[in-house]
């Protein structure tokens, strides 16, 4: 039966991949979801007590969680908008005829933070924001601008976090836009120019529609990225000040650490559901766009 053996080889090839996916991907997720239906005190024992939806009811009755959920969604919207508009603007700048030599340097400069370990990057940012010797405020003072509250004020902490995260992530989005710009159909833009379209009109009606693939990719990556914001919070604010940066992922993690396993995993499941929803919607959208 050579044919069957031939097919069997493929299963052999896929075996290690399948094993890792099941052991370290699916199994922990199922365990986590299972724990969300059990009583925290018994969750990790051999025979946990099942409590149905009690943990879900509890988290949706917890004002801190609800606030964290709203905060997470708001932060995601803001961060995605800021990252993508910055990335698009910078990519257009680098792609324009205005920049010739030095393009690689500019590209490397914004991409280097992407491959810098996030812990190291955020440790530095935390001190750049320091109110007494941080460089951010020193620079603002030098320019005669008012001081920035940075991580110390509940009003500015989220913005401070967003800037540091933009530093770490935006380079990736710039690159995706650049890759898309490189395969643009230049003829269309030139034809529009001959027809007397202004630069803004050309951008709006010719360039932007052609950038849809990069926009879609960046949107999905960024939404998932910022919904899960975690390391920046751990390193820079620990959810503070006064809960201003307490996002769902961090709050759930804290609940884990104080043995509220049931509620923590329930929060994780809710966040997972949101991420999944976003991904599926984007996938559907992409399929429809392709058809």
């Amino acid at each position: 039966m050579p044919a069957m053996r031939r097919e069997g080889v493929f299963y052999l090839f896929a075996l290690p991949f399948a094993a890792l996916t099941i052991l370290f991907g699916l199994w922990p997720i199922l365990l986590s979801i299972q724990v969300s239906f059990t009583d925290s005190a018994t969750a990790l024992q051999p025979a946990p007590a099942w409590v149905g939806l009690a943990n879900y009811r509890a988290i949706f009755a917890d004002p801190v969680f609800l606030a964290a959920l709203v905060r997470t969604l708001a932060y995601t919207v803001l961060a995605v908008a800021a990252n993508l508009s910055f990335a698009l603007a910078f990519a257009l700048l680098l792609d324009s005829a205005l920049i010739g030599r030095g393009r690689l340097f500019f590209k490397l400069a914004v991409f280097l933070p992407v491959v810098t370990p996030d812990v190291a990057g955020y440790v530095v940012w935390r001190w750049l924001y320091d109110q007494s010797f941080g460089a951010v405020n020193a620079a603002l003072r030098l320019l005669g601008l008012p001081a920035f509250g940075g991580l110390a004020s509940p009003r500015t902490a989220m913005l401070a976090l967003l800037i540091a995260e933009l530093w770490h992530h935006a380079g990736f989005y710039v690159l995706i836009f650049l890759a898309n710009l490189a395969i643009l159909d230049r003829a269309q833009a030139e034809a529009a120019q001959i027809d007397g379209a202004t630069a803004l009109q050309r951008f709006r009606h010719v360039t932007l529609p052609q950038l849809r693939p990069a926009m879609a990719v960046n949107l999905v990556y960024a939404v998932i990225q910022f919904l899960k914001t975690f390391t920046a919070v751990v390193v820079m604010t620990k959810g503070g000040p006064a809960d201003a940066t307490n996002f769902v992922s961090f709050y759930a993690y804290q609940q884990f650490d104080s043995a509220q396993y049931g509620q923590a995993t329930a929060m994780a499941t809710v966040l997972f559901a949101i991420v999944l929803l976003v991904a599926l919607t984007a996938y559907r959208g992409a399929e429809r766009g392709r058809a």
Partner: protein, 426 residues
């Protein structure tokens, strides 16, 4: 050939394994100093217990909690835990797997040096969850050279301390420019950070409770308590006498401010003295009691906690772990504790070789006042404290126009919460 090699390998493995190699893991959060101390004690312990080694592992406090609780709940516990009593209480309530140390204590012949207060603190929910090993004293410290530069004196009253703080900030004592140094170093990020600071000022001023009395009555709006609370909150906020980032500080950031030479007044724990005598601020500090707030109350140095050793019920090697826990109360371990950590519980220790400041803690001549440890008698206290902390943080972030009204309102909220918590926990 192959067989012979194989046989030799097995023989080598057998020979290499010591007679009874056993390792006891002990998880603490005291950093390199704590590890050094436990290693020394471990070496001493091994003399009577051949083949036994001690493996101290230090985690940052957050991680210590998560790990300890997770490990006890999943039966992957270490042999011993070492930390402050209130942290062990949290592990105990969330795992129910901290063993009762009373039999271990009973087996120690000369445990009379532990006072009733010590034992009360160590007891939670009818069980003795730690053997008290280090009594923790916290005094008030001032930078000596800054005092000299500004011509001030060690502050006796709170008004003195405030005036001194203003003078430090105006005087630029380090020559680094205005706005770079501060009157006080405090912490606020987590409930224990902020309430602990409040504890120090409150007890240091001679009051007996910070938030509730032993019966669970909220005390924060009683006149003297309210005064201390208002002053502490203003110090965090309106007075502008602490670094503006303080709202995000936990103890490690607070230490950075102290050791980086950016504050004039700060907490000095007995465990800080050995390091600060020789490194970091290199002996440039004076210590004394916390500032006096009220003429009718004696101000004092605060006994703010008790560190001790706990044994999980699912410790891999419980009998040996119990033996090591008891050993930590013996003279050699206590002597090393005093020398390296700056604190101990035995009174019969050799004081030679201690610095002058270390001796001030080891043989205190100043007034002492012990923290009331509500965590050990009121099981819902941590929850109340967390809510209190949330409330206080809002006042620090946006200082209320009317502090008295804020304190009254907070007191009312806390009373309602206490009722709710008492009802829930039966």
């Amino acid at each position: 050939m192959f067989k012979r090699l194989f046989g030799a390998a097995i023989a080598a493995t057998l020979l290499a394994a010591p007679v009874q190699a056993q390792q006891l893991a002990i998880w603490h959060d005291l950093g390199d100093n704590g590890t050094k101390w436990l290693n020394e004690v471990g070496a001493e312990f091994a003399k009577d217990h051949p083949g036994v080694s001690i493996r101290p592992i230090s985690y940052p406090t957050d991680q210590w909690f998560g790990r300890a609780i997770g490990a006890l709940n999943t039966n992957t516990a270490p042999d011993l835990l070492f930390n402050n009593y209130e942290r062990v209480i949290r592990v105990a309530t969330q795992t129910g797997k901290i063993s009762d140390m009373r039999p271990v204590l009973a087996a120690i012949p000369d445990h009379g040096f532990l006072t009733e207060d010590d034992l009360r603190v160590a007891t939670f929910d009818g069980k003795m969850i730690i053997l008290p090993v280090q009594r923790v004293q916290m005094a008030f410290g001032v930078r000596k050279s800054w005092l000299e530069k500004t011509g001030g004196q060690f502050p006796q009253t709170w008004d003195d301390a405030r005036r001194l703080a203003e003078a430090f900030q105006a005087g630029d004592p380090e020559g680094t420019g205005k706005g770079t140094v501060f009157g006080f170093a405090l912490e606020a990020a987590k409930p224990r950070d902020l309430v602990h600071m409040l504890d120090l000022f409150t007890f240091g001023a001679g009051l007996r409770h910070t938030l509730v009395d032993p019966d669970g009555n909220v005390v924060i709006d009683e006149p003297q308590h309210a005064r201390v609370l208002a002053e502490v909150l203003k110090t965090y906020g309106a007075y502008k006498l602490v670094p503006p980032d303080t709202i995000n500080y936990s103890f490690n950031e607070m230490y950075q401010v102290i050791e980086g030479g950016r504050t004039g007044m700060f907490r000095v724990g007995d465990w800080n003295v050995a390091k600060w005598d020789s490194q970091a601020i290199k002996g440039d500090f004076l210590v004394g009691p916390w500032p006096r707030f009220f003429p009718d109350k004696q101000n004092a140095v605060v006994i703010g906690g008790m560190r001790g050793v706990a044994v999980p019920v699912n410790a891999p090697n419980k009998p040996l772990a119990d033996a090591f826990a008891a050993f930590l109360l013996g003279k050699p371990a206590q002597q090393a504790s005093l020398r390296i950590m700056g604190s101990a519980v035995r009174p019969d220790l050799d004081m030679a070789g201690l610095s002058e400041r270390q001796r001030m803690f080891a043989q205190p001549k100043w007034a002492l006042i012990a923290y009331d440890f509500p965590e050990s008698t009121l099981p819902w206290y941590p929850e109340l404290e967390a809510a209190f902390h949330r409330k206080l943080l809002t006042a620090i972030a946006t200082p209320p126009a009317d502090m008295d009204a804020f304190i009254k309102e907070t007191a009312a909220e806390m009373r309602a919460l206490v009722k709710q918590l008492q009802a829930r926990k039966g």
